[in-house]
């Protein structure tokens, strides 16, 4: 930092970094897919908590709607501001790649979380759960609820979401391998938009009268689908599961619209991502397989293949345990 103070409001990041611990640039900015998304609100809050713990500067910027080109502009701006690390959930695995590489060339560490880019564009990926783990838990939940036979469908986020597509692929394999009587009849895209997800749910139920279950591996989708089911004739007849946050799903679980759904703790994900970024800035890790770092209260983590750190296995929420969670 130059110490020049032409405008106080314009440069919080560097100013704070200078006053931070030693010469490390702990200015860390979260760049979610889009703002106004409950899931990212929670995860970024976890990040904020971690950053406060180690005395860095937390910031969150992002586009209003999930779009890769808008993310690129924000990455560019962060590059110029010279932040210590960007923690990003990618809207597109490649479109933001060159912008990220430019950021890294300028000395900024890049950590992806939630939704990854191609590995060559980032220093570290904090994986909430393995695709196998997520696919398996989703498939287990839905097949158990429908009695391991009948039609199911998937309500996804946007057609290009990296993580979603990976999970869907794995789910298909899992269904084919272990649940021969369950058929996946359709996959529709709600674009992580409430209204679209809601209307797509309605259309899904209309087009497939024999549908027994819906998997929505996105927090926006599952909430919208639950809201549709809650007041429809299909309530209790069509099972719904997926990835949701307890606060959004509480009502639906309590009134029986939804029996069980899964998620990791997004706050932990953000928390871990922030410590991962710190470790990169400190030089504790470089992204090499086998590197180890400590993530505050979460304990020690080891970097796996492709510079990936795994948070853990997803957790299943049911009527019995949902009251214990608030995020």
């Amino acid at each position: 930092a130059t110490g020049c103070s032409s405008s106080a409001s314009t440069d919080t990041s560097t100013g704070a970094a200078a006053s931070g611990s030693g010469d490390k640039n702990y200015a860390i900015t979260f760049l979610p897919k889009n703002l106004g998304n409950a899931y990212f609100d929670t995860s970024d809050k976890g990040g904020s908590k971690a950053i406060t713990e180690f005395g860095g500067t937390y910031a969150e910027v992002g586009p209003a709607t999930a779009a890769a080109d808008a993310q690129v502009s924000f990455i560019n701006t962060l590059t110029q501001q010279g932040v210590g690390a960007i923690i990003i959930s990618a809207d597109d695995p490649t479109a933001i790649g060159s912008a990220l590489n430019e950021a890294r060339a300028a000395g900024t560490k890049v950590v992806t979380f939630d939704s990854d880019t191609d590995p060559q564009y980032r220093d570290l990926y904090i994986n909430q759960a393995t695709a196998d783990g997520i696919a398996k838990i989703e498939v287990d939940l839905i097949t158990k609820q429908i009695g391991d036979t009948g039609e199911v469908a998937i309500l996804s986020a946007s057609a290009n979401a990296t993580n979603q597509n990976a999970w869907i692929e794995t789910m298909k394999k899992e269904l084919a391998a272990n649940h021969p009587n369950v058929t996946l009849v359709d996959t529709v895209y709600g674009n992580d938009d409430d209204q679209t997800s809601f209307d797509k749910t309605a259309a899904l139920l209309q087009s497939h009268p024999n549908l027994k279950g819906i998997i929505s591996p996105t927090t926006v989708g599952i909430a919208a689908a639950a809201r549709y089911l809650q007041t429809s004739q299909y309530k209790g007849k069509v099972a719904l599961t997926g990835l949701g946050t307890p606060n959004q799903m509480r009502d639906y679980v309590n009134d029986g619209t939804v029996t069980a759904f899964a998620l990791w703790n997004p706050a932990d994900l953000g928390y871990l991502a922030a410590y991962g970024a710190k470790a990169l800035i400190d030089g504790t890790i470089t992204g090499k397989e086998g590197d180890k770092f400590t993530a505050g209260a979460l304990g020690e983590f080891t970097v796996g293949k492709d510079a990936t750190v795994l948070l853990g296995e997803p957790f299943t929420f049911t009527k019995e345990n949902i009251a214990d969670f608030n995020f």
């Binding site: 314009t10 779009a67 502009s73 701006t77 110029q80 479109a95 290009n160 597509n165």
Partner: protein, 349 residues
């Protein structure tokens, strides 16, 4: 046949100046100059007040960001100057991007795929143009329709997938910069287009036709301007450049997707109108439009660097747009306050 009337000898009695006002007035007292001055002011203030604004990196990112809008704004200026509008540009861009992705994936050589995309853009523009001229439909309605249609085809063709593997040569070309100047190589293309469109609009008979059509389609028709042909050509140019912008977009982000540049049409139109082009047609100039595009781009870039959130940028864009169309009204209102006398009702323009 030469007309000597009333008498050649009298021709010299009246001396005509080519211009009524001195050069500096003609230069400074224009709508375009107001936008340019605003642009310069914003740049100066941003350089002083916003840290890291005055760097070559900023310049580079800024130019990369505004390039597609800048490109499409050029032919859009022609269309709006004729009193028409094209809302389908962003969809054409998306379709071009998708087509490029599909064709390269199918193994077509990139240059051939590019040509195919450009042809597609021409056809998309041709459809707009024919519906507006031959069928005689309002362009606003037509292009709302093709906005959905072209985007729908783009999304339909590629579905869930995105094509992301493009030859490094091409992606590099779209992203690289001239050494340390920060100026993207792609600006060569943009500058070339600017030169072409300045020449086309301001220095050719075709451009004179556009201005005449914009002010009075009927007079233009009576004067031997091929009104329909000119309109179709302008729509085709818009389609062509939108397709070109789609190619640039694809290479810059290294990703061909159906939803690329969704909603960009409004940004383009906002920039063109901000640059002083009249939505009624007739009035406007390319340099004003360029200033309009850059004004919005610089504002966005500076505000983002200053950690002002994107919502404020939206509000400022909207307010600027409204102010820019209201400002002539304010001026005439002030004038009418000064000369407090009954003035004629302004008839429909």
């Amino acid at each position: 046949m030469t007309i000597s009337a009333p008498a050649d000898s009298r021709t010299g009695t009246r001396v005509y100046a080519e211009y009524g006002r001195p050069f500096w007035m003609r230069l400074l007292l224009t709508r375009e100059m107001a936008v340019i001055v605003a642009l310069i002011l914003v740049i100066v203030i941003a350089s002083l007040e916003v840290r890291r604004f005055g760097t070559t990196t900023t310049l580079g990112f800024l130019l990369l960001d505004v390039a597609p809008i800048l490109m499409i704004a050029l032919p859009m200026t022609l269309v709006i100057m004729m009193g028409e509008i094209d809302l389908s540009v962003a969809s054409t861009l998306g379709l071009s991007s998708v087509l490029l992705g599909i064709l390269t994936q199918a193994g077509w050589p990139v240059p051939v795929a590019i040509v195919a995309c450009l042809v597609m853009g021409l056809v998309a523009g041709l459809i707009n143009g024919l519906l507006v001229t031959v069928v005689g439909l309002p362009s606003l309605a037509v292009t709302i329709g093709t906005l959905a249609l072209y985007r729908g085809i783009a999304v339909g063709l590629l579905g869930t997938t995105a094509v992301t593997s493009f030859p490094a040569f091409w992606t590099g070309l779209a992203q690289s910069k001239f050494g340390s100047t920060g100026i993207p190589v792609a600006m060569v293309l943009v500058v070339a287009l600017i030169v072409v469109f300045v020449a086309l609009l301001h220095f050719t008979p075709f451009g004179r036709g556009i201005v005449a059509i914009g002010f009075s389609t009927e007079t233009a028709h009576f004067s031997g301007v091929h009104v329909n042909r000119t309109k179709v050509v302008a729509f085709m140019l818009t389609g062509l450049i939108a397709a070109l912008a789609g190619i640039y977009w694809t290479f810059r982000y290294g990703s061909a997707r159906g939803d690329n540049a969704m909603g960009l049409e409004l940004s383009v139109i906002a920039a063109v109108l901000l640059g002083g082009v009249s939505i009624f047609g007739g009035k406007g100039a390319i340099h004003g439009v360029i200033a309009g595009v850059l004004l919005i781009g610089v504002l966005q870039s500076a505000l983002r660097l200053a950690n002002v959130s994107s919502d404020v940028i939206n509000i400022i864009t909207g307010a600027l747009l409204i102010l820019s169309v209201l400002s002539p009204r304010f001026l005439s209102w002030f004038r009418s306050l000064r000369f407090r006398r009954a003035t004629p009702e302004k008839q429909k323009q």
